[in-house]
């Protein structure tokens, strides 16, 4: 099989070691930031796990000092417990004991990107305190497995120190690590994080016990979970050359591994248990060809060219099938030698092998592997890219692949990305969250329809709240991305930019208003500016959506303000006339020398009803 992997060898480092060397990038630069990041990673993993299984999340977070008498930075025990689906015991060591084990590679919206953060936190804890991580998991609702583990950083392998099994009644996961942190500095951010998470996750119940023993509890506000996102195929605009390469590799049928299991399968499909000669195998296969599965066809095609039976098959390894040069290269275990033989293009099996190895035609590849691409669009695209529609992707050269990737980015006639992979919170839960959280005099929310930048779909949700319990300390913006509060690097964020560019006086908002904006961006890829994932970059498509959402809400607020203003003005008028007209009557009575006061009641009424003239 032809591969694009370089034959050169590098001295490898394990992913654990890579992350250890680059921990600053992942938000573990100092004890303050590390404590905050660890809290985030565990809480977000817990919420994601519950979301995936449609379980209303019940999250408990606690941070305890190992020795309360010590001064910061010191060792803390961080524990996050959820009522999620748990992890099957056999997967626990790998899930928490190796880096890069995760199930979040599909294209859909999730809080974390790859589930690496939790392992990073465990790694950080181990580096700073040399203490193991404790994971309790119950996946079946009956038994709970407790693992105490360390990570072997060089080998990227878990080292299990203890493993207990206990009875349990509910599914869920509890992770506890010991790490060096600085709660005196990180505390306010962590409290903000927890409270803001409860705002954007109103269907979750979240409790937090801080090192002083103070408990913060955020009860569930809505009982309905927003619809979960679905996993979808990528959009053509959202892939690069490397992604296409990977897609091609798993698109064209790989040569199936030839092991006992596969040989069993071949025998079974041929309907013959006993040993067959190479010739018998081919004869039987040709009779039953249409019933054979694809891997079996491929194996048989290879056998036909090599003219071997099952015994022969077991003694060799196929290294490369070069369709272009019509050659098969294989390794003979018996001879410990590499052989190369020519393919006969006239052979009935040649086509089968060629199809398998060369992969689909470009048109099939496009329609099968990308979202919202039909045959017509695919044909048009091929014309645009100056590539033949029937070209087999497996045989494309490097230059052609680059041209393909480039054209995928530039072709404008693809449909907009499919937003079904997104999971916005929804207007009602957001509105309830905002009402409960701020108890404002006025609130409004909007969910914009889906849009996309560079092939990544996104949805903007926004809420505005005014007055009530909100203090008059000026506009405050709460930023969220994929249901995560963004607390750092506020200044350079696109949402802040949009909010600050607004001319609020046009919407009857003046001075230091009791005003709150809640912004939630959902996307399969949030365009963060930095690795810290705290501020969103200003993509024009995103800016436009944010601006439209904000203007819509500001108009709603303006309507409220003018209604409020009119009501205030009417009240003020009524008060003024009720106060001054009787005084005028009193003065006029004495001045005119009359005894009885004039009948001025009607004037008070008229006064309070006059429409304010526009000056």
């Amino acid at each position: 099989m032809k591969t694009y992997l370089s034959k050169e060898t590098f001295s490898q480092i394990s992913p654990s070691e890579f992350f250890y060397r680059n921990r600053d990038l992942a938000g573990f630069s100092n004890p303050t930031r590390s404590l905050y990041t660890s809290v985030r990673e565990f809480v977000e993993n817990a919420l994601d796990a519950c979301d995936q299984k449609k379980i209303l999340p019940d999250i408990h977070l606690s941070i305890k000092a190992v020795d309360a008498e010590q001064s910061d930075p010191k060792h803390y025990i961080l524990t996050v417990k959820d009522n999620g689906p748990g992890i099957e015991p056999k997967h626990v060591p790998h899930a928490f004991g190796t880096v890069l084990y995760g199930s979040k590679f599909g294209l859909k919206q999730a809080r974390g990107m790859f589930g690496l953060g939790a392992t990073m936190a465990i790694l950080y804890g181990q580096i700073t305190t040399n203490k193991p991580v404790t994971v309790k998991s119950c996946a079946d609702g009956k038994t709970s497995d407790e693992f105490v583990m360390l990570l072997d950083i060089q080998k990227n392998k878990p080292v299990i120190l203890k493993h207990n099994v206990k009875e349990a009644t509910k599914t869920g996961l509890a992770v506890s690590i010991v790490l060096e942190g600085d709660y005196s500095k990180a505390g306010s951010k962590i409290r903000d994080y927890v409270s803001q998470t409860s705002l954007i996750t109103p269907y979750a119940s979240i409790s937090f016990e801080d090192p002083s023993g103070e408990k913060f509890h955020y009860p569930r506000i809505v009982k309905e979970m927003p619809p979960p996102p679905t996993v979808i195929k990528p959009h053509p605009h959202g892939v690069d050359v490397e992604t296409i390469r990977r897609m091609i590799v798993d698109t064209h049928y790989q040569i199936p591994p030839v092991d006992n299991k596969m040989i069993e399968k071949v025998r079974k499909e041929l309907g013959q248990k006993k040993n067959l000669s190479a010739k018998d195998i081919l004869e039987r296969a040709q009779k039953r060809w249409s019933e054979l599965s694809r891997p079996v066809r491929t194996i048989i095609a290879v056998m036909s060219f090599l003219n071997i039976d099952f015994d022969g098959l077991q003694k060799m390894r196929i290294d490369d099938i070069d369709v272009a040069n019509k050659k098969i290269t294989y390794w003979d275990f018996g001879e410990s030698q590499s052989h190369s033989i020519d393919l006969d293009p006239e052979s009935p099996f040649y086509k089968q092998l060629a199809n398998t190895v060369q992969g689909d035609t470009l048109v099939t590849f496009l329609t099968k592997r990308f979202q919202r691409v039909g045959p017509t669009t695919a044909e048009k695209f091929c014309e645009f890219a100056k590539l033949k529609p029937e070209r087999r992707i497996g045989s494309m050269t490097n230059e052609e692949l680059v041209r393909l990737a480039d054209a995928l980015q530039k072709f404008d006639d693809f449909l907009a990305p499919d937003p079904s992979c997104l999971a916005p919170l929804g207007e009602e839960p957001l509105s309830k969250g905002v009402m409960k959280f701020f108890n404002p005099e006025f609130a409004s929310v909007i969910q914009r329809s889906a849009s996309a930048y560079s092939g990544f779909p996104f949805i903007v949700e926004m809420g505005i709240a005014y007055g009530g319990d909100i203090p008059s300390t000026g506009l405050k913006v709460y930023r969220f991305a994929n249901r995560i509060p963004l607390l750092y690097d506020e200044g350079s964020d696109v949402v802040l930019k949009i909010v600050n560019e607004m001319d609020w006086s046009r919407y009857k908002v003046k001075g230091d208003p009791p005003l709150v904006i809640v912004s939630h961006i959902c996307s399969t890829r949030i365009p963060y500016k930095t690795v810290g994932k705290e501020n969103v970059a200003d993509r024009p498509e995103l800016e436009r959506e944010l601006k439209n959402a904000l203007q819509y809400l500001a108009r709603k607020l303006a309507v409220h303000m003018s209604r409020q203003g009119a009501a205030d003005m009417a009240k003020k008028r009524a008060n003024l006339y009720a106060k001054y007209v009787p005084l005028i009557a009193q003065f006029a009575t004495e001045l005119s020398g009359k005894k009885k006061e004039p009948n001025y009641k009607q004037l008070i009424k008229m006064g309070s009803e006059i429409e304010e003239q526009i000056q």
């Binding site: 001054y580 005084l583 005028i584 003065f587 004495e590 001045l591 001025y600 009607q602």
Partner: protein, 366 residues
């Protein structure tokens, strides 16, 4: 002795006239309220655009622009009520023969839930009522704090409660009589004087009394205490109009002194809404700029603000001709000024013995 034939009536008549004006306003407001109409005041506009110099009556007057203050307009309701209250309160003051100060008005308002934010606001409403009734505030029995004095053979008859009909001769007390509410409302009965000398400074006023200027020049002496208060200007006008006495003015030899004389003669822009405060025939005796050299008076240099004031006054229509114009030019040329006391260099009585007779003689030709 100059006697006034209809002397009893003058002060009383003005009072009655004002009371009837106020009552008319009261009746109008009352009727409007009763008929469900929003009452309003029409106030001559006092904005700079509406202040014009009337050459005929030789003073600043208001033009024809009028402002309506309506109780229908919410933003004017408060100031409308304030004005109605002031009319009501002034009516009481006059009827009860009580006097008050600008400060009093500000505080009195509080008993009626009329909330003036500060005294400037209440002072402004007082000027509004002056404009509405065309009467100076002294007639409302509202007086400023500053007081000036008068001395000379003038018999007056009080009209204030408790002193009605009582007569006093203003030469009985050598320190002079305060020109206050009771004197302002008194009837001017008779006098032997043939001249009124208004003098800017209290010190000189005392000197003039000591030197018997009132006898030597058959004059009534008035201390204006700087820029003459309205009550003083009002008295000067009455002496001139009711008793037919010419008025002459002596002030410091500087631009401010010249303008003190001008204000007595033809009023100020601030009081353009009032017409009973000027003495158009009053004469400025000195000290002129030309006198400084002529009498070789000791001088002091002008300040920058003095010079600026000269430039300002040169734009005033009243300073465009004659001696007024000439003296400003000489002041500007000299850039020095001389006070009335400067004559003391030649002896304390020099001003009364030499300067005053000379200037009175000179003034006959003016």
């Amino acid at each position: 002795m100059k006697n006034k034939s209809n002397k009893q009536k003058t002060a009383e008549a003005r009072k009655e006239k004002l009371l009837s004006v106020l009552q008319d306003h009261g009746v109008n407001i009352y009727n409007d309220l009763d008929q469900g109409k929003f009452p309003q005041f029409v106030i001559p506009s006092r904005s700079v655009n509406n202040i014009v110099y009337d050459k005929k009556i030789r003073q600043y007057i208001l033009g024809n622009a009028r402002a309506v203050r309506s109780s229908r307009n919410m933003s004017q309701l408060r100031s409308y009520t304030q004005l109605a209250w002031l009319a009501f309160f002034v009516n009481r003051l006059i009827r009860e023969g009580k006097s008050s100060t600008l400060r009093d008005i500000y505080y009195s308002s509080q008993a009626f839930s009329i909330d003036f934010e500060d005294q400037p606001e209440s002072d402004n409403i007082i000027v509004d009522l002056e404009a509405v009734t065309s009467s100076p505030r002294e007639e409302f029995h509202i007086f400023p704090e500053e007081r000036s004095s008068v001395f000379g053979d003038l018999t007056i008859e009080y009209t204030v409660p408790g002193y009605e009909g009582k007569r006093v001769n203003l030469s009985d007390h050598p320190d002079g009589y305060l020109i206050g509410p009771s004197l302002s409302s008194a009837e001017l009965v008779d006098t032997s004087a043939e001249l009124v000398i208004a003098i800017e400074k209290g010190g000189l006023f005392t000197r003039f009394v000591e030197e018997n200027v009132h006898k030597k020049f058959k004059s009534i002496i008035v201390d204006t205490a700087g820029q003459a208060p309205r009550s003083t200007r009002s008295l000067l006008r009455r002496l001139n109009q009711e008793l037919g006495l010419p008025v002459v003015i002596l002030a410091d030899g500087d631009v401010y002194g010249e303008h003190i004389a001008m204000v007595i003669k033809s009023g100020s822009a601030n009081a353009a809404h009032l017409r009973e405060l000027t003495v158009p025939d009053a004469k400025w005796l000195g000290v002129w700029a030309t006198d400084i050299e002529k009498y070789k008076l000791p001088t002091i240099p002008m300040t920058e603000s003095d010079i600026k004031r000269i430039y300002d006054l040169q734009k005033d229509p009243r300073y465009q001709e004659g001696n007024w114009k000439k003296q400003l030019e000489v002041f500007l040329k000299l850039k020095r000024k001389a006070e009335l006391e400067a004559f003391s260099k030649y002896g304390l009585t020099n001003i009364t013995d030499k300067y005053l007779p000379a200037k009175l003689e000179e003034s006959k030709s003016l």
